[in-house]
């Protein structure tokens, strides 16, 4: 497939999400509670997507919500949860324990090597660890090899080429040039390893502005770009907004309570549209999340 020729890539959230087919291998950008592509996650749930194979490093509410909505067949991340603070991912945990999803838990290093192999057009790359870890038992596709130069035993992990990568950026232009702030996590690797890259941005800016801020992911890798203000909420997208810990706590609590609680959360926040989502969260709360830069006290108060 050739690189994306320059053109106006702006589209609607619904049309962008429609590029994700049932059963697709979907790479999720961001990590933990930072810059997760939540507007696209919510739209995939609205569209009733099924059978997805999710790939990522360390994730949280994105994977858990997709699993809760029944959109997921297979999970291949290095971690899914809400860290020490809010604990295990309730829906992911329940689905894994019931056996209703395939858990192909991976390792950041393996996923990185697999994406790099795809970027380079190679069938595999070797890694040094893994042997002795039961993570190997979850991946019959890994093979033990002998280095032809040193004779060392290494583990070959196959190229991983997601069908589609979902990324969220604070700013981008109409052509798909994206500016990100650290942590980039695997977004750059996903952008060149995946067949199709869909980006949501909090703000559409001129090419001049995105160049001035620094292009992290170039337009020639991006197929579609969607204006989605607060598109990472309830996760963070610096420099715009911090993560919404109180909202995540509300989600985790709803997910822990079981199907009724989850259905209520989805009805309140997700099932409508991004506009109704923001209205349900409240303009005051969203504005408070952007106040992090005023002072250390303001910043700390967001996390209370």
């Amino acid at each position: 497939m050739s690189l994306q020729p320059p053109r106006d890539k702006r589209t609607s959230l619904a049309d962008a999400a429609a590029l994700v087919a049932d059963g697709a291998m979907v790479a999720l950008g961001g990590g933990l509670s930072a810059r997760l592509p939540m507007a696209l996650v919510r739209e995939l749930i609205r569209q009733g997507r099924r059978g997805l194979h999710l790939v990522g490093s360390a994730h949280g509410v994105d994977v858990d919500m997709l699993v809760a909505a029944g959109a997921v067949r297979r999970c291949e991340e290095s971690y899914v949860g809400f860290e020490q603070d809010l604990g295990l991912a309730p829906s992911y945990r329940r689905a894994a324990e019931e056996g209703s999803i395939e858990v192909a838990e991976s390792c950041c290093v393996n996923i990185l090597a697999q994406l790099r192999a795809a970027e380079m057009g190679l069938p595999f790359l070797p890694v040094r660890g893994v042997r002795g870890s039961d993570i190997a038992t979850l991946h019959p596709e890994y093979k033990t090899i002998t280095c032809p130069f040193t004779g060392e035993t290494l583990v070959a992990v196959p190229a991983l080429r997601p069908d589609v990568a979902l990324l969220h950026a604070p700013a981008g232009d109409r052509y798909g040039n994206l500016h990100l702030e650290q942590p980039y996590v695997l977004d750059e690797r996903f952008a060149s390893a995946s067949r199709t890259v869909i980006a949501t941005v909090d703000e559409l800016v001129s090419t001049e502005d995105v160049v001035a801020a620094g292009v992290t992911i170039p337009a020639h890798l991006v197929a579609a770009t969607v204006l989605a203000p607060f598109g990472a909420h309830p996760t963070s997208c610096y420099p715009r907004y911090a993560y919404d810990r109180a909202h995540l706590r509300e989600y985790v609590s709803a997910a822990q309570s079981g199907p009724d609680g989850l259905a209520k959360y989805l009805a309140t926040y997700v099932n409508g549209s991004e506009e109704s989502y923001q209205a349900a969260v409240g303009a005051e709360r969203l504005a408070a999340l952007t106040a992090w830069s005023r002072s250390t006290v303001d910043w700390q108060e967001i996390f209370a």
Binding site: Y79, A89, C107
Partner: protein, 275 residues
């Protein structure tokens, strides 16, 4: 001056860092995270601190937030590594120490952060290991920790699932597996401190309100105690001040059960400052 177990525990973790080391913690690890900043503000001011998940080098965060990917954690850092820069450095052997925890830890220092019970239909699906199954193979030394030793479920004879690699797995020793890192060097729990002579955990220090019998009761493998088993050295004024200034939100406390957080300590009679 009095202090609580969470403060002392973090100080005990910090002391496992040696000057000039390059040190990393994984995400969701508030005690290790606070400990690294405490070490950098006390005995290891020349360390290279890699802030977990942000991969920021020697930041000065205004506070430790409850999530590991927050921009506060790169404040004051001249540079944040890319994801791949960090993992490359760790794999080629440029990272001297990493902190690792687990829902289960065995006597060889293998840890389980994947699943309790059979992984196909687990009793509890845990979050997952991040980069641990490779990092534990190549990083210089590992400091393991748990704040759940007393539960009796954490230090076990054998992990239900080995996520991160200790000194010996059913497939062989680290040397036999060709791993370049040294493996677990310390295991710090809310009850005491273990080292790993010959690759097996040995109790070397106890917190003073804990007996050897309590440790044996809480541990799923036979506990060998060092001949010179001693109390954990109390925190210095400087160490305590560092803990409190690094972690004003007290995120370290989220790792402890409420019962443990009631443990408070006073210095023994005698001068309580180093002046």
């Amino acid at each position: 001056m009095s202090w609580t177990i969470d403060e002392w525990f973090v100080v005990a973790l910090a002391r496992t860092i040696r000057p000039a080391e390059t040190v990393f913690h994984g995400f969701g690890s508030p005690c290790a995270q606070v400990a690294m900043h405490v070490a950098r503000h006390t005995h290891a001011s020349d360390m290279v601190l890699i802030e977990g998940a942000m991969y920021a080098i020697n930041p000065e965060p205004p506070f430790i937030p409850p999530t590991s990917n927050d921009a506060s954690l790169r404040r004051g850092a001249a540079y944040s590594m890319r994801f791949e820069e960090f993992f490359d450095a760790a794999i080629r052997g440029d990272v001297d120490r990493m902190f690792l925890s687990g829902g289960q830890i065995d006597a060889s220092g293998n840890t389980n952060v994947t699943a309790i019970g059979p992984v196909a239909r687990p009793k509890v699906k845990l979050g997952g290991g991040g980069g641990g199954c490779n990092l534990s193979a190549t990083i210089g030394q590992l400091t393991l920790w748990t704040t759940r030793h007393r539960s009796g479920h954490t230090l076990v004879e054998a992990c239900d699932f080995i996520t991160d690699i200790g000194h010996r797995t059913p497939l062989g020793t680290r040397a036999e597996l060709g791993f370049t890192g040294g493996g677990p060097q310390w295991l710090v729990t809310e009850l005491g401190v273990f080292d790993f002579p010959g690759g097996r955990a040995r109790l070397v220090q106890l917190f003073p309100d804990v007996s050897l019998a309590e440790v044996r009761e809480a541990t799923g493998f036979p506990v060998e105690a060092a001949g010179d088993l001693r109390a954990v050295r109390p925190p210095s004024v400087g160490e305590l001040a560092a803990v409190r200034s690094v972690d004003p939100l007290g995120v370290r406390r989220s790792e402890f059960s409420p019962r443990e957080l009631d443990r408070t300590f006073e210095p023994d009679a005698g001068p309580d400052c180093a002046c």
